[in-house]
Structure formats: C-alpha cells, structure tokens
C-alpha cells in the first residue's frame, strides 16, 4: 500500500509503485480532471502539481510521491464553486475542445502560486510545454493574466458584465 496526499486528503492506494500517478488519479481515486494525452510528457494534458511544481502525472510513478503534496484540478474548485483561475478560464472562454485545459490550469496555478504577478513573457515561457491543438493560446494567456489580477483582488472575479 502506498499513501498519497491528494488535495489535502490522504489516500491508501493498492497499486504497483511503478504505476503512473495519472492512472491512480483517474482509475482508483476517480479524479478525472487530469487527462491522458500522449503518455510521453510532451503535451501537458496530464499536468498536476506536486509540492507546488507542475508535473506530468502520466510519467511520474507513485513510488516517488509518498508524503508529497499532490494537487489536481479538483483541488482548485468545483463546477458549482470554481476557483479564481478556473473562473478566469470560464470568463475568457479559454477552452475550445477543452482537453488540454485541466493541464493548462494546473501549470498556470503553479506559476501564480510562486509568482502572483507574472509578466507576459514569464507566462509565455512557463506555459510553453503545454500544447493546445485548437489554438486557444491567446485566450489562455488572457485567462492567466485575469486570474493574476482577481487573485490579488485588483478586479472582481466572476462573469464579465
């Protein structure tokens, strides 16, 4: 048994230590936010946070994650009560097909927790590993800028008037 701390809750997982975190999240813990994209750490759809850093859950074995703080999309808010970054993505309508968006949000969350007011260059450099084949990058950038402002109280969150 391996104990994983996901979104502040401890979970006892009965799985091979070599199992990638993504499969445990989706199949055992029923946390389906993180998506399987390429399985090679090249697209970013599976991105979650571990100890504050963006990590590809598809190639991180759970062996490495005992005692570490894992945060997934579900840890930021719910459909009923989205967190500030999720709300910013909704406000900017930053999703088209939406498959990459959970990974994009988690990668952006890691940036904003470390650097609450990133510059456009810093956001672009940090978000670079995330692929979006629909091409919503400009809206994703806007959403991260918006979240940076709402999280600091500079503008109110919620739908645009």
């Amino acid at each position: 048994m391996i104990t994983l701390n996901v979104n502040g809750r401890a979970h006892e997982v009965d799985a091979d230590p070599a199992t990638p975190l993504l499969y445990v999240l989706r199949n055992d813990l029923k946390l389906n936010g993180a998506k399987f994209g390429c399985g090679l750490g090249q697209c970013g759809a599976c991105t979650v946070m571990v100890d504050g850093e963006a990590v590809y859950s598809c190639l991180t074995p759970i062996l490495l994650l005992q005692g570490r703080a894992i945060k997934t999309l579900e840890g930021l808010g719910s459909a009923e009560r989205p967190g500030p970054l999720q709300q910013a993505f909704i406000d900017e309508q930053a999703a088209q097909c939406g498959y990459c968006i959970p990974g994009m949000i988690m990668r952006a969350q890691a940036l904003l927790e470390r650097n609450p007011s990133p510059s456009d260059d810093e956001i672009r450099a940090h978000m670079n590993p995330g692929l979006c084949r629909c091409g919503t990058h400009i809206r994703i950038l806007r959403a991260v800028h918006r979240a940076s402002k709402t999280m600091q109280g500079a503008i109110p969150g919620g739908k645009r008037a």
Partner: protein, 444 residues
C-alpha cells in the same frame, strides 16, 4: 618569523599590481589603437552576394548569433548577459545600426576587433569576446562575415553597461600574457582536411572557449587544449585524448551530431551545445566534416570510460543485461529514495532495453568528470528548438525531490558510467536547482 612573511608579500603584490595596472593604463590607448576609420564610414552597399552567403555560414560556425542575441531578442542586436567570475558582460549589438551597433565600423575596424580585440574607439575588448581564437581567422573570412553582418537589418538597441570588476586597461596585461596573434601555421604532418578542421576549431568555431579549462585569470590553459571545461553551468566534455565518451566517436558520428544535434551512438546536443549544432546545420557539410576529422583525430584512442562501457553497447556482450532490467521488474514501495528503483520506475520505460530513449551506457553525461549535464538534463529535459522537430526528453524537476534526485544520479553513474562516484552530487544538484534568472536586456 613566519608571521612576518605575509606582511612582506602583500605590499610586494600590491606594488606589482600597481606597476601592472600603470603599464596597462599606458597601453590602453596605444597610438596604433586609434580608429583606422573616418568618423563615419558607411558600409559599402554593393557587397557581392556570394561573399554575403559565405559570411552567413562563417558566422554560423562562429556561433555569433548565440551570444549576440538576447533571449526573445532580435538576432545580433546584443543584450545577452554573460556571467563570468569577474562580473556580468553584455554582448554588444552587431547589427549595422550606426548609433548602437557597428554601422559606422569600417572593414578594418571590424578586422582589428576580431583579430586584436580592440573596438572602434580603440578600447580593449573583454576576452569574453573570443578574439584569442578569432585572431587566427584569415582576413578574407573576416571580410565575408563583415559583409554578412553589414547587410543585416539594423536594430536600434543600446547595449547595457557591463557590471565587471576588471578595468579595461588591465586587459592589456591579459593580452600580453595570453593573446597569440596571427594565423596558425599549417601542420605538414596532417592532410588538408585535418588542417582545415584545426583552422576552424581553433579559430572561428572557438571550441576551446568552452571545451578547454581556464586559469584564474580566465584564460584557456594552453597545455590542456580541449581537455574539457564549463559553459554556463554545463560541462563541456574533453575533446582530446581524455574524452570521456563511452564509445569511440567516428568522424561520421561527429558530422551527424554537429549537423543534426543527435548521434544515435552518443546522444543529443543539449544545453549550450544545442545552438552550436543548430548553427552548424546551415554550414556546408565539407566544413563540418573538416571539424569532425580534426576532433576525431584529437580524441584518437582516448582513455575515457569506453573500455568498460563498450561491452554494454548494442550488440555488445552486456546488451542482454539491459533488457532484463526492464520496468517490469517489481519495485518495493519503500524504495522511494533508492536510485535503482527510481531508474526502473521513472526512467527505464524510455531508456532501458533499446527503447526510444538513448541507452545511458552510451551517454557521455554518465561518464564525464562532473554530474552537471546529467543533473541538468534530468531536471529540465531536452527540448527541440522552438518550432522545430528534434529529440525530446521531458523535465523531471517537479517529479523528483532532492532526496530522490541525488541517489538516482549516483546510481546512474555507477550502473551506466562504470566509473568511480562523483564528488559532491548534492552540491551540484543545489547549483542546478537555483532558479535561472535571465539578466538579458532585449531590444524592443
């Protein structure tokens, strides 16, 4: 008695230093260093297109764009910060902008800067600009580079002031000690290709700037030419007979590596070598082949770790052993800080048993003198140049914590490097994990 010795040595040193600096000051504006050009000598607009094209690939061999371009900045517009033990130097704007670039430089000003390390105003240039190598470049090649640079788009971008402790006049002393001006004498014992390769390697390509160790004054150690050095935190492996490459580099492998950034028998050009390979992809193959011929000859029958590792190369007697170590071998859950277990669960999926990642037995990163490259590639991965295809390894910075990264590196060294343990893996991990803060000042 012993206590009086330092009190005698220190004034003597101060005195010697004062004399040296005074000498240097006198040398700073030597009469012959006055600009050879009229105050404004606009470049000749009628360059031969063939000369410009030749200048383009020569500039690529010189890797000019890598230093003279800030991250996300305009090409050749300068502003890239070069961190040295003596302070931070900003690469200058070498576009033909008359105010902030080299637009007013005459051909002879440019030739003198390349071969003697003096700017248009007659000031010594810091040897971060590798004129200790460029001094060997033939006038006609420098002229072609001049024609190429002078026909680029001018970019108005003021180069930021250097933040460096060494005054420019002191550079005269450095030059007196370490600048060996003039062309290289061809070595009759070797063929034309070897001599062409040496001309490029020692001259324009300035390979030794990274691949040769430096002394306390920042000069390359002449007796340890190409014996391995450092480049912005990366280890530049030895390219001489002390090469740590696990298997012998052939000329063909070097050509492939230098022109595509990848050799199936050795791995990927990462870190500060990646832009070098990208530049060489634009250079006529015959020139890259000459470089490869010379480097392969310098490595010769090198004394690296290859003797022990060669047996594990594909087809070698140890090859079967890798497949037995696949990711299917069960791992115990309490082995989270065991290098072998981490390798099998996190790395073997790609690197083991001849899968898509290179077998680590072949990688110089596990046999080199320091773990710098292995740690950096593990943390940040390998990524193709923006918008281009190429080898890719994902970053493991967030996945591995410090208690896992260090044992993994130690394991890879022993298991695949077949070499004695590295000293201070923990210290190198700490250095590599320090956040990279670009000091570049890009043009807008």
């Amino acid at each position: 008695m012993e206590r009086t010795r330092p009190s005698k040595i220190i004034p003597a040193l101060i005195g010697a230093l004062a004399v040296a600096i005074g000498f240097a000051w006198a040398m700073d504006r030597h009469a012959s260093f006055a600009s050879t050009a009229s105050p404004s000598s606009p470049p000749d607009a009628t360059y031969d297109p063939t000369l410009i094209a030749k200048g383009a690939w020569l500039a690529a061999i010189g890797n000019c764009n890598t230093c003279h371009t800030a991250s996300n900045g305009r090409t050749f517009a300068g502003g890239r910060a070069l961190s040295t033990p003596f302070g931070t130097i900003y690469a200058t704007n070498i576009t033909p902008d008359p105010e902030t670039g080299i637009g007013r430089w005459s051909r002879s000003d440019f030739l003198r800067a390349m071969q003697q390390g003096v700017d248009r105003e007659g000031r010594h240039l810091y040897p971060a600009f590798p004129y200790d190598h460029f001094t060997h470049v033939a006038d006609e090649d420098v002229n072609a580079i001049y024609a190429f640079l002078m026909t680029r788009d001018p970019v108005r971008a003021q180069t930021p002031a250097n933040r460096i402790l060494v005054p420019r006049p002191a550079i005269a002393v450095w030059k007196a000690l370490y600048l060996k001006p003039g062309p290289l004498v061809p070595d009759a014992a070797h063929d034309a290709s070897w001599n062409r390769g040496r001309y490029l390697v020692d001259g324009l390509a300035h390979c030794g700037a990274c691949h040769t160790p430096r002394n306390a004054l920042g000069a390359e150690k002449e007796r340890e030419d190409l014996a391995g050095g450092t480049a912005e935190g990366w280890q530049a492996p030895a390219l001489n007979e002390t090469s740590p490459a696990p298997s012998l580099w052939t000329t063909e492998q070097l050509v492939a590596y230098l022109r595509t950034g990848f050799s199936a028998g050795h791995g990927t050009a990462a870190g500060t070598m990646a832009p070098v390979a990208h530049n060489l992809s634009t250079v006529p193959e015959v020139e890259v082949k000459a470089i490869a011929v010379y480097i392969a000859a310098r490595m010769g029958a090198s004394t690296g770790a290859r003797a022990t590792a060669a047996g594990n190369a594909p087809g070698g007697p140890g090859a079967a052993e890798w497949s037995a170590r696949g990711e299917d071998v069960p791992v115990d859950a309490n082995k989270a800080t065991d290098g072998d277990a981490i390798y099998r669960t996190a790395c073997a999926d790609c690197h083991d048993g001849g899968r898509r990642g290179i077998a680590l037995d072949l990688s110089t990163s596990v046999t080199d003198t320091t773990p710098a490259n292995l740690i950096r590639v593990t943390l940040d991965g390998i990524h193709p140049r923006e918008g281009e295809k190429g080898e890719l390894m994902p970053a493991f910075r967030g996945a591995l914590d410090d208690t896992q990264l260090a044992p993994l590196i130690v394991f890879l060294r022993t298991r695949f490097g077949h070499a004695p343990p590295w000293q201070d893996v923990g210290g190198e991990v700490a250095r590599a994990k320090r956040p990279l803060e670009s000091e570049d000042r890009k043009s807008s």
